[in-house]
Each structure stands twice: as C-alpha cells, then as structure tokens.
Amino acid sequence: MSQPFRLNKEGLINRNKKISFTFNGKKLFGYEGDTIASALIANGIHLVGRSFKYHRPRGFFGAGVEEPNAKLQVEFNGHSEPNVNATEMELVEGLSATSQNCWPSVNFDVGAINNFLKMFFPAGFYYKTFMWPKSFWYKIYEPFIRKAAGLGVASIEKDKERYEHKFEYCDLLVTGSGPSGLASAYAAAKNGAKVILAEDKPRFGGTLLTDDVSIDNLSGKDWAEKIITELKSMPNVTVKNRSQVFGYYDHNMLVMFERVSDHLEKKSKFTPRQRLWYIRAKETILSTGSIERPIVFGNNDTPGIFLSAAAKEYMKVYGVLVGKKPLIFTNNDSAYETALEFKKNNVEPIILDTREEHSSELIDEAKSKGIDIRFSHGVIVANGYKKVKSAKIGKLNKDKNSFEKIETVDCDCICVSGFWTPSVHLASQSGNKLKYEEKIDAFIPDKKKQHETSVGAANGSFTLEESLKNGFENGSNLSAKITDTKTEIAIPNVNEKKYGAHDKFWCMPLPKNENPKRFVDFQNDVSVSDIEIALREGYRSIEHVKRYTTLGMATDQGRTSNLNGLQLVSNIENKIVPEVGHTTFRPPFTPITIGTIVGREVGMEYMPTRKTPMHEWHEKNNAVFVDAGAWKRPRYYKQGNETLFEASKREAKNVRENVGICDVTTLGKIDIKGPDAAEFLNRVYTNAWMKLPVGKARYGLMLREDGIVMDDGTTTRISENHYHMTTTTAQAANVLSHLEYYLQIVWPELNVNVVSTTEQWAGAAIAGPKSRDMLSKLYPDLDVSNDSLPFMGYKEADFFGVPSRIFRISFSGELAYEINVKSDHGMFMWEKMMEVGKEFGNQPYGTEALSTLRIEMGHVAGPELDGRTIPSDVSLNGLVSKKKDFIGKNSLGREAFNVESRQKIVGLIPIDRKSSIPEGSHIVQDQNAKLPNPKLGHVSSSCWSVENNNPFSLAIMKDGKNMIGKKFFAVSPLKNKSIEVEVISSHYVDPEGKRVRS
C-alpha cells in the first residue's frame, strides 16, 4: 500500500483519512483532498488514456481546468459519468475510474495502429475520405468513426441525482480567489457591497497556495486563509468554492456551476449534486488568472510531460512528485520555482533554458543551490512510448533554428514552461474585444463592453505586488460607486521573487531527417504538420484553420494550444499574431453536466400541471387524461376493457340520445368591464356587438390584423357594463395579451378593463336531448323553458345553495347548457350533476367524444383555425359584418383571400363507409399519379360519426363547396393508406341547427 511518489509531509491533503478507489479495476488509495490525478500520480500511474485520433498513450499534463488529456469515465454514487477531468474531480470513497478511447485496454490499444498510419490521417482526413459514396456516411463511416474516436460513454440510466437552479443578485461578483480576486472581494466587502466570491477549486487562494511569497509577513497560503476567514464572517459576502463561473451573458448576467456534493461521502436526500447560479452583478471582477502554455517539441505528448506549474502544484498542494528525475524545459523564470521545489524535496532537476546565459534573482538562487542549468538548451524529442524515459536535448545556435550539440539525457518527467496566457475567456464573452500585448505574447482585455474589470494575471499583471494593488484598487473603487462608502485599506507589504524577461520562443526546431510528431493541441491530436497542411491547402482565416484541423476545439477549448497555434500560423503566414487574430471564446468555459442545465425541470416539474377542481373525480372514475397545454383533460372514461374508439363512441352516442356532462373548466375566461366594453368587443370581434342585450350570449369570431382567424368563443353580457368572454383552451393567454395590447396601446381612450378569470370558475357542459329535463331537476325553482331560457340565453341562479351562472350555449350541436360555479364548488356541482342525472342516463364524456360531436356538426376548432384560414375558408363569413370596422377587416379584401378556388372547408366520407380517414391525409385526384402529385387539400379532423355510424372527416380543400359530390383519394403515406372519399357538406348532422334551438 505504499505510494512511491508521495512526499512525506508536503501538501494540503488530510493524511489521516485514506480513501480507496479503483482505476481500470486496480484497487488503489489516496487521501482526502486528493484529486483522481494526484492520487494516481502518487501511485506512479501516468498512462491514463489514449489520444483522440492516433490513440497515442497519454498521461496528465496539467493540474486543473487546463488538462487536455486525462478525461476518465468515472462511476460514483451509483452513476457513471464520461469525460470527467481527473485533475479536477476530488477523490471519494468507492469511486471507480476507467480510461476512455481505448480497446481492449489502455495498455494495449488496437486503435494505436492509427499512430503508425499517421501519414494517412492528416488534417482534413475525414473531410477528404468519407465524402463518397454519400449513402455510406450514416450507415458505415459515421458509426465507425464514432466508435474509433470519441470520448466516454454517456449513461442511459435515468439520472437519480438532484440538480438546482438559483438566481442571485449582487453588487460585485469576483471570479477567482487568487491574490487579485481576494484583494478585490475584501476591499469591496469593506465598503459594504454585496459580494460573491467564486473559486473553481476546492481550496481558496489560487497561486498563493503554490508560490513562494509572503504578504504582511504571512505566507501566501496563510494570508489567503486569513482573508477568506474574515470574508466568510461578513454578512454581505457569499464565498463559494468548487464553483466555476463559466459564462458571461447580456446585461452583466453570469452563470456559475457549483459542484455541491460530488466530493461528499454522505449527503442528505435534498442536497443537490450540482447547482447552476444565474448571477446578475452590478460589477464583475474577472480575476481568472492565467494558464501556463507549453513549448512545442517532438513527442511532447508522451506521458510524464507536465506543465511546470502543474508539477509544482502536485508537490505543494498534494505532496506528490511527478517524477524523480525531472527535466525542466523553460523560456522564462517561473519554471525555476518548480526546480527549486524539486530540490527542496531532495530531487535533482536539470534546467534547460532556451535563453542565453544571464542572471536574475531566481537563476542566481538556483545556481547557488547547485542546480544543473543549461542555457541555450531545449528538448528536441522525448523518448519512451508509455512513459518518458529519456530526452534528446540540443544546444541551440544563436538564431535558434539549428543545433550546436545534441545529446540524450535520462529523465522520468519533463516539466515545460512557455510563459503565461491570461484567461480572458469571460472578458471575451462579455463582448470585450481583446488586444495583443506584445510584452507577454498574449491577448489581454481591451475596452469594456459591459461592467467587467479584469485584474491580476487575467489582465496580464504577473507580479504579486501589482496583482494585489490592482485588486484592492478596483474592488474599492467599483464598490464605492455602488455603496457610496469608501473604507481606506492599506495595501499590504509583499515579498516576492523578481522574474527576468522571458524568451519569445515557443517551438523547438527539428534536426535534419527527424520527423517526430510535435503536438500543438493534445486533446484533438493536432500537430504542427497538420496546421502546415491546412495553410498549404489555402485555409487562411484562423476560424477556418480551427475548423479544418480541429485546433482548439474539444472540451478544453484550446486552453494550452490556442496561442501556440496562432504563433505557428503567424510564422508561416509572415504576419504578426494580432493580424491573425484569435478564435471566438464561447461559453461554457469548462464542460458542465446536462443535469445542471436542466435543473429541477424534469418529470413532473418539467412544466406546471393544471388540474380542474373535478380532477379527482375523473381519476376515480377511470378517466384517461390528455394534455391540453398544461391542463389535464379527461379524454375518455374507460369502462371495462374498452378502447379509446369504443369509449368515445359510447360517450358521444349517449349525448346524442340522452344527456352527457363534460368538464369545460379549461376554456379561457376573461372578465371585461367598463362603459366602453360594448364598443371594444365590437372592434375586437368580426360581428356586431353593440346591440347584445343584458342576459344574452353571442358567438364571436376574432381575427388578427392580417385577416387570419385568431380565436372563437361566446361572450355573454352579464350586466350593462360587464361581459364574460370565453376563449379556446389553447388561445386563452394569447387572447388576453391581444386585448391588453389594444386597450393599452391602440385605443387607450376606451374605458375598459380585462382580467383572466379562467381559474375562478369551474365549468360543466350538459348536452343532449334530455339536458333540459336534467336542468329542471338541478334548478327546481327556475323556469328553464325554451321561452324563458332560449338558445344563447343566460341566467344566474342558486345551485343547491351556491351561486351559479347558466349559459345556454352548445359546442356539441345538441340542446345544451354550460353551468359555471366558483372553483371551490366545482366538485360539489359535478357530483350533484352525476347524482341528479342518473335517471336521464347521464354519462360523463371526454374530449374525444367532444371532438366527435363537433366534427359531425361541422363546428370548427384548432385543426381548422390553424393560422392559415380566414372566416370564409371555414364557412363563417356570415359572422363578418360589412357595416362596421374591426381588427383585421381591411385585410379581408386582399386579392388572394377572394379567389374562388381558395381552399375551404368541406366534409368527406369514405366510399366504403368503413375506412377511417387519417388526419393529415392529403387529397389528390389520382392516387397513382406521378410525383409530385398535385395536392388539392388536407384532412383536418376525423371522427366516427355516431349519428350515421360511419367515418366522417372535415377537410380544407381547393374550390370548397364546388367539389361536393365529387370523388377523390385521401392519401396518407405516413399511415400507408389511400382511401377513396366523396366530398359532402361540412355540416353532416342537423345542418339547419334545429337541435340547439329546440
């Protein structure tokens, strides 16, 4: 159980708590505070995956979000997650990790043959090879490529974890808790601002945890701890670790991904796994730091090659050595700190510095400690397949394009540093056009577009003193503007090592006749030669080069590769980097889980469920429900083994013969009040409304301004200045907005108020020849005769002790009434109706029977009012007033609306009187005609006519009524059906409308 690469005391891990886990089936252990990566390295394991294209062995390269290689399939807490970054995922008891993109194992991977065939896999290989035959793409090429390349496997199990969304508002959001972030948050907090400080890693402090510095005589780590402790104690500050701000959107809204409990062994049932924060910040401090970039050399992807800062982090944070015979390959001073750290732990490094011999504070210190430093040197190619064994190193000539001397040195790791790249992703997402800073060979934020301020290394300031000053000042000034308070804070004394200038050197030349792969982008296997090919083939724009070679794509978004790629393009093109420009930075900065994006909006919580007050009764009586928007409506009430078809036929027949009741609560209801209500309705509806008496209802049709039917429904005059409008279930919300638009904007002079009362009333329709008999039993004291309560009549009456409204309106075409009571009394009303209705053969009916009844009557609904029909298309031109103006009237005169052959509503019956006509069928003259077969119309609604006991459909058809008597085919390629049909009137039952008036 020994860990050969674990140091005895260094690190911030908890050595009192061992954690066991498995990697590719092997049982291992680490400590609390380890990442999967640090625990594996401690155990001497470096080979963790195979590369995307060539299946080359890959190991760890970084120690955090910059990691391009170490993506693992991880099982923990009972679920399996692909593409987990081993350098970020904290170790938890029982975790099991496996390598991806290799078969049969990471040690022996069949796909690695690609590596030896690499001359056949240049840039654009897929584009060039798999173009033909076209039919091969879906069935052969794509599945094969997906299997051969690709990353982990997504789980097909239901995600049992809980995810949350949270909305937060603050004065100042600080993204990153390095020195500049801590200073900004602290200064703003002292000014009384509401501050959120977000840190991606489990530990606060950023580089303060690894750099050899002191602030006010405290070590960097202790100072960070002191500041965080104080911030945590302040009520105006929220401090969050394991939280990555990954997107910067409009109006200073940022999104943050919090890993709430992945690191916990036990958690309560209601603790979410991860949380998405929507943060609206008045000001944002971007203290996102910088990421070290590599120097490009031969076989630079071999396991055992690290960024030098990562090697230092493994030692100082995790107490882990990445190797015991390190080569440090650098063009700047920062890697000397890594060398000194090795030396402190009794490991002898060799430093290869591309710069000519010179002196600086760090170089002098390394020299005085006896470290072997070789100036004008660099690594040409790393040797070793699954792990670095040695390196061919060379002494560069003065021009750094060839070698004065080449030799091979043994090593077990190479720590490379090509200087630092500010993390400008969030700044760029905010709209900030970046500028190229020649001093650091990298892009930094330019002029602000939103309320964002980059500080510290993210802004190109690489000294602690400058970062702190920058942080304190910006934090203080930005917050003072908001809180009007300014607390003076003394900027602390800093002790840090001074760095000399870096070398603008980013790629090692190759000796003649040697041609190892030199990778620029590890995650997508893009090498120097791939980019050269792309340019040779004429790709010029950096965005095109990116897409052709896949440089900088994939999950790490080129964090370690972008700038080297740009350098290469600019070298070949003989342009300076700012001329080449950079590719677009897009959210998310790091991969986040789909579960987090979805949050709680899954299953029942996907959308609200609207239930009518009678819902429980429907449930108890075997209702099968159908979704109508968010509403649940009974589709039919199942008796025994009935099918939908049988049940709806039974229910509809019972309405035609006896009486049925239907829950119509879901219809939109709008209360309209005011002295100008009649005038308003007169403008909104196509028909006349000025003379509707109190106590009467009227059917109304409303259009959009372009003449298309918007909605229909009845409106009742309750009292002089009070109307009750009903809309279809689907259009309720749109109609309300429509009315509000005209009242608030177009005709504000009208004194009218509208309000939705849909949820205030429970509604039940009583329909059928026996409905009046039933009504008289429901209202024993009320005169319900045809004279007293005629068709389109309205009464208010007491319903067994509760107030109610009775409307004599009909959708089914039968003698019918609609009763409304306050929602609270809905169930009472319904049960009373079932009880009283028994002797008349009353049965409840659902939406399927409701549709049958309206279709055979030729009443139009959603499928006919589909946003393409005008009143005359659906035989409602009788409702269009010629005398008055109304919304959409002027459009009805348009030429296309008045063509005789325009598609209009008709009825269809099958010639055999048996075959049901599928909805959506197209009507054609000749079913065998050559394609394209001219379409004459389409079937909008279909039912089994219970009145005539055969199928009947409504259709919207060319020439409309002129086609009556003719025969056509209704074809549905989807259902593989072609049915010969005859065109008849759309009013199949009771065309004179006698029943509703009876």
């Binding site: 909305f167 959107y249 409009d250 109006h251 200073n252 809204m253 929507y278 609206r280 709209g431 577009k449 403008r683 301004e705 372009d706 907005s737 509000e740 638009y741 608030q744 904007i745 177009v746 005709w747 504000p748 008055k884 103006d885 002027n890 459009s891 005169g893």
Partner: protein, 89 residues
C-alpha cells in the same frame, strides 16, 4: 438574459417579459378609410435595423403592462424604457 426596467415594477429579468415588435408602428384609425398601401405597410412591413430600435415588450409575468424599450439590436444595450403613453426620444 436581458435586464429590463419595467416603468411600473423596476428592473426584472427578461424571463418575465414577452416581446411585442416595433413600437413605432401606428395602427390606422378605426372606422377611417385607409389605402391598401398604408394598410399593407402597417400589417407587413417592418424595418430590421442594426442598432437602436424602439420596441414593445409586455411584462407578462408581472404587471401585464405593455411597455416601450429602446434597445440596440446588435449589442442588446437598453438605453431607455417607458410607459406606452410616454415618448422615447
């Protein structure tokens, strides 16, 4: 997500609003003769400017008032919001 200042309720997230198109379009008066051209312009013709645009939004999950918003269609910057009875200059 935009941050829109409702003149009645204050700053609210875009989620609470629904977009309502160009606010400068004026409907021809009711009961008045209108030429086909004017009518077509009102119903169909809209400018799609890059830059400043005065538009209607309804605070649908709030006070339900229609409001005017002057917004840059390219940058989404909001310069001014107002009640529909007020002018935006």
């Amino acid at each position: 997500m935009l941050y829109i200042k409702c003149p009645y309720c204050g700053l609210r997230a875009q989620k609470e609003f629904s977009y309502g198109g160009d606010a400068t379009v004026k409907r021809p008066n009711i009961n008045e003769e209108v030429s086909s051209e004017d009518w077509d312009n009102f119903v169909y013709m809209r400018k799609s400017p890059r830059g400043k645009h005065i538009e209607l939004w309804q605070h649908i999950a709030g006070c339900r008032q229609w409001i005017k918003v002057q917004r840059d269609t390219a940058t989404h910057e909001i310069f001014q919001t107002a009640k529909v009875t007020e002018e935006i200059r």
